[in-house]
């Protein structure tokens, strides 16, 4: 195999990895925020059910969830599920549990006085979320959420196990096509570099946003002290 062809295959794989993450990350974020808010709500049974969901999803390996979706769900429903939607669905369900726990913890980190003050000003629930509690929650939740995103990018490599040709899948397929051991290790090392670039880029982006936030927060406090 020529180096060009190897790179070509790996980049195609990278495209598949990015596709999975571009779907799974927003889905997991939305679902995670909803679940986190339900866990925080005063509807006791809903909150308990969500707490159980979060606990369960965090106590089983993602590989098990993936195999369940890929092998077991078709047994129940009768239809076949291709690898791509199975991977996106399990990444979403799994990531949502982690994000829900972050959202839950972050909302609770906002002092209750903030809610009370906002309510006494006559703000509606959605305005309290949008202007008072939301921004404060976001500041706490952002760093662990970004690190959950990089974890999701890494976990998307599990899709290769059920035959989806992502970065790892492409590397494994090329390895199988050649007998020499060195070639397989080299291709896997290239795959590792690609994953590193994706994840390190994402976490650097997260750090940059965090820095900006600290800066804004400081400016706000200074302005507050002046007035």
């Amino acid at each position: 195999m020529t180096p060009d062809l190897v790179m070509q295959q790996l980049l195609n794989g990278a495209l598949a990895t990015v596709q999975m993450c571009i779907l799974a990350i927003p889905f997991a974020t939305v679902l995670g925020i909803l679940l986190g808010m339900v866990k925080n709500s005063r509807f006791r049974w809903a909150s308990r059910a969500v707490a159980a969901y979060i606990w369960l999803l965090r106590a089983i390996p993602l590989l098990l969830l993936l195999f369940f979706v890929y092998f077991a769900v078709p047994e129940i429903t009768g239809g076949r599920i291709p690898a791509f939607p199975a991977a996106v669905a399990s990444l979403t369900l799994h990531g949502a549990a982690y994000i829900a726990e972050i959202v839950y913890g972050s909302v609770r980190s906002v002092p209750l006085g903030q809610w009370a003050a906002a309510r006494s000003l006559g703000l509606r629930f959605r305005h309290i979320i949008a202007h008072v509690v939301g921004p404060q929650t976001l500041r706490v939740a952002l760093p662990p959420t970004i690190s959950t995103y990089t974890i999701m990018v890494k976990e998307s490599s599990l899709a290769a196990v059920i035959g989806h040709v992502d970065i790892l899948g492409a590397a494994l397929a090329m390895r199988e096509s050649q007998i020499r051991l060195e070639f397989g290790v080299m291709v896997l090392a290239l795959a590792a570099i690609l994953y590193f670039i994706l994840c390190f880029g994402l976490s650097s982006l997260g750090r940059a946003i965090e820095q900006r936030q600290h800066w804004t927060a400081r400016r706000l406090t200074v302005a507050g002290e002046v007035t």
Binding site: P61, L62, L64, F71, E75, P144, K154, F200
Partner: protein, 232 residues
């Protein structure tokens, strides 16, 4: 739902649970010792050592465990070592666990005030005694909750070693599923096994934690946020 396969195959699942536990136990133990060494090297070992450790940790944190696992699996024979699946899985898990655990210890070391070192020096403790009796006990208590998360992470992460045929819970589940075609039931039962294992480990960890903290209450507040930041 058909659970008739269970009586014949339960021993296989339980032996899988045993493999999961002992593979994880080795990786966790190596992770703690190696992680502590790396964290000390990174904070006290000079600039070169710190840089090397930093690169290692970043690689471990930004490359999927599955890729590391395959690299070890195909890389070891390249070095002339043919040790079989279980040893390979344990080695890969150790690489990963050492990296993550060193980050936990590094965070813990940061949270211990410089006054503790100065005080230990002031009363004339040797370096060995300073670490053994002053720094490490505090470090262990501060990082205790995060280490518990890491223990669970390693146990769940060890499921991935089933793809290189380490006969753990996941591997046995796949084998039973492909011979009985009762994937749904098999995966439900193996999920229950994992949940039971995680629940037991979690409970034991916090029970021990309560005892440790009752004896000598922690004075240093944990700097690591409660939300999980490290997972394989």
């Amino acid at each position: 739902m058909d659970f008739s396969w269970l009586s014949a195959n339960l021993p296989a699942l339980l032996s899988g649970a045993w493999v999961t536990l002992y593979v994880s136990a080795i990786a966790i133990a190596v992770g703690m010792v190696g992680g502590l060494l790396l964290a000390l090297l990174r904070t006290r070992g000079g600039r070169l050592a710190a840089a090397v450790v930093a690169v290692y940790v970043e690689v471990i944190r930004n490359v999927p465990f599955l890729v590391i696992l395959y690299l070890v699996y195909f890389g070891l024979p390249l070095l002339g070592l043919r040790w079989g699946a279980v040893a390979t899985g344990i080695i890969a898990l150790c690489f990963s666990s050492v990296g993550y655990t060193s980050e936990i210890f590094r965070g813990g070391l940061k949270s211990i005030g410089v006054g503790q070192y100065l005080a230990a020096d002031a009363i004339g403790l040797s370096t060995r005694h300073k670490y053994l009796h002053v720094i490490l006990p505090q470090l262990f208590r501060v990082t205790y909750p995060a280490l518990g998360n890491q223990v669970v992470t390693v146990i769940l992460g060890s499921a991935l070693t089933s793809v290189i045929a380490v006969p753990d819970i996941m591997y046995e589940a796949g084998a039973i599923g492909s011979s009985t075609f009762a994937y749904t039931e098999v995966y439900i039962v193996s999920a229950i096994v994992y949940v039971a294992v995680v629940f037991l480990v979690n409970s034991a960890w916090s029970a021990i934690g309560v005892r440790i903290n009752r004896r000598r209450p922690a004075r240093v507040q944990p700097s690591t946020p409660e939300v999980l930041e490290v997972r394989a």
